[in-house]
């Protein structure tokens, strides 16, 4: 994917210094993943990023057909956000970014933190690895997104996501053309880090709109170094470096994330800041079994062959004696 360096530099001029690292275009051309750094200490919770996200991604939002197909069995519930498109205090199919509030006391000081929340774009995303249909995908530039033309809305991506980020809208998508009453239930939606803007050499809308330069985008290695530098300078804490094996969204906060996790409003559409082990780590270990298996089969096959040849020899000897 080619990205015009000039376009990125134009974006950088628009967004202000610090929001786009100059090496970004070159990194994408080299196939390096992009990551974003969110300096929570800078966020004032103005909601400009939320509004910009809605405006930039309006054309991707679902336009469901009603009435919805009757679902069998009855236990399968429809998920309809089309009448509640204005909801902006949680993630929905029509709201891919929201502001989370955390009033927390840490080391005797009170903090009123506002935190932009969206998909973290994992470096090894379980949603993309485990989607049985290839609808959830990871691009070379680190963007994790859902192909709304083939997603069947089974919600597996949400189940396997440690933060349960994707949200379903019923009555839209490929399942309507297949067996709408018996398989599928719509399409899953979440932040796609404005992949179409990135493709055009532009910067994600939430970054461009932020008046406080809360977010910075750039090559992951540099963003990680920046996060460490910032955390060291502010005695802060990092989230996203190791969580779920690493994400391409790094938060730096003046307060430990365990403390934030205790006070934020969590639940459906409202992810936490809990510790997250690498969900795909056991699969990485099982790879050894898959590599070893053919060798074991070859060894067993050779043993079988040797025994069979020995038995033939014995039979030959017996015949000779007779």
């Amino acid at each position: 994917m080619s990205i015009s360096r000039r376009r990125f530099l134009q974006s950088l001029a628009l967004t202000g210094l610090g929001s786009v690292l100059p090496s970004t275009a070159g990194a994408v051309a080299r196939g390096e993943e992009l990551a974003t750094l969110l300096d929570i200490g800078k966020c004032i919770g103005c909601g400009e990023c939320v509004a910009a996200c809605r405006e930039a991604n309006q054309h991707k939002y679902p336009n469901p057909q009603k009435p919805f197909p009757k679902m069998y069995p009855d236990r399968v519930k429809v998920a309809d956000w089309s009448e509640r498109q204005d909801v902006d205090d949680r993630l929905t199919p029509y709201n891919w970014l929201y502001i989370q509030y955390a009033d927390v006391t840490w080391q005797g000081r009170e903090y009123e933190l506002t935190i932009p929340r969206r998909c973290l774009h994992c470096t090894n995303p379980p949603c993309a690895n485990l989607c049985p249909w290839g609808a959830a995908l990871k691009q070379d530039n680190g963007i994790v997104r859902i192909n709304d033309t083939i997603c069947l809305g089974g919600s597996k991506c949400k189940s396997v996501c440690p933060w349960h980020i994707p949200e379903r809208q019923t009555g839209v998508g490929l399942y309507l053309q297949l067996a709408p009453s018996f398989a599928g239930n719509g399409v899953m939606y979440k932040c796609d880090r404005c992949y179409d803007r990135i493709n055009k050499g532009e910067v994600p809308a939430c970054i461009t709109a932020c008046p406080e330069n809360v977010q910075t985008i750039g090559p992951r290695s540099e963003i990680l170094a920046m996060a460490h530098e910032l955390a060291e300078k502010t005695n802060g804490f990092i989230y996203g470096e190791t969580e779920n094996g690493g994400t391409n969204t790094l938060y730096v906060s003046p307060v430990p994330f365990e403390e934030i996790d205790k006070v934020i409003d969590k639940g459906p559409g409202r992810p936490g800041f809990q510790p997250v082990d690498n969900a795909m780590a056991p699969e990485d270990k099982l790879l050894r079994a898959l590599i070893f298996a053919p060798a074991a089969g070859v060894a067993a096959g050779i043993l079988h062959t040797v025994r069979a040849l020995q038995q033939d020899d014995h039979k030959g000897d017996d015949h000779a004696k007779k």
Partner: protein, 154 residues
């Protein structure tokens, strides 16, 4: 597989068990077992655990790979002189080859740092599932028609 060969018969039963397990855990990757109440049956809640089924699928795939390499070696060295592969058997082998190759590609794709294009990944997923469905049908037809994979050389 020669019926007179006692260890081979045991391996055949193991093969059927492994293939059943692979098909089951493979279909468990789709969100159907909870939707269609199987996970509600006492003792079957695990069928709706995507991660658990994915890991069992990996383990069973390792067993299948070991089985296939074992059979290839033994057929090439011992059985080939007495047994020949039927056309149905060759067709099944072709389907299995596709399933194994797409399975290996999916495992590779799941490794951290490994990049496959989204389109390639989608086709790998669809081919893997499609070939399994075709193999299931072919195996069913072969069982009904009492067709064998190997027959004695005349």
């Amino acid at each position: 597989m020669p019926r007179s060969d006692r260890p081979a018969r045991m391996v055949r039963h193991m093969y059927h068990l492994v293939v059943f397990g692979l098909a089951f855990t493979g279909f468990a990757q789709m969100p159907i077992f909870k939707r269609y109440y199987l996970a509600d049956v006492p003792g079957f809640a695990w069928t709706a655990d995507y991660y658990l089924n994915h890991r069992i699928h990996y383990l069973l795939a390792a067993l299948l790979l070991a089985f296939f390499t074992y059979v290839i070696i033994v057929y090439a060295t011992v059985w080939r002189s007495r047994w020949q592969i039927t056309r149905c058997g060759l067709f099944s082998l072709g389907l299995w080859s596709g399933i194994v190759v797409t399975g290996i590609m999916r495992v590779m794709k799941n490794q951290p740092g490994m990049h496959f294009s989204p389109t390639t990944t989608m086709w790998v997923d669809w081919l893997h599932l499609g070939l399994v469905l075709v193999l299931g049908m072919v195996s069913g037809i072969m069982a009904l028609g009492r067709r064998k994979i190997l027959i004695p050389r005349s």
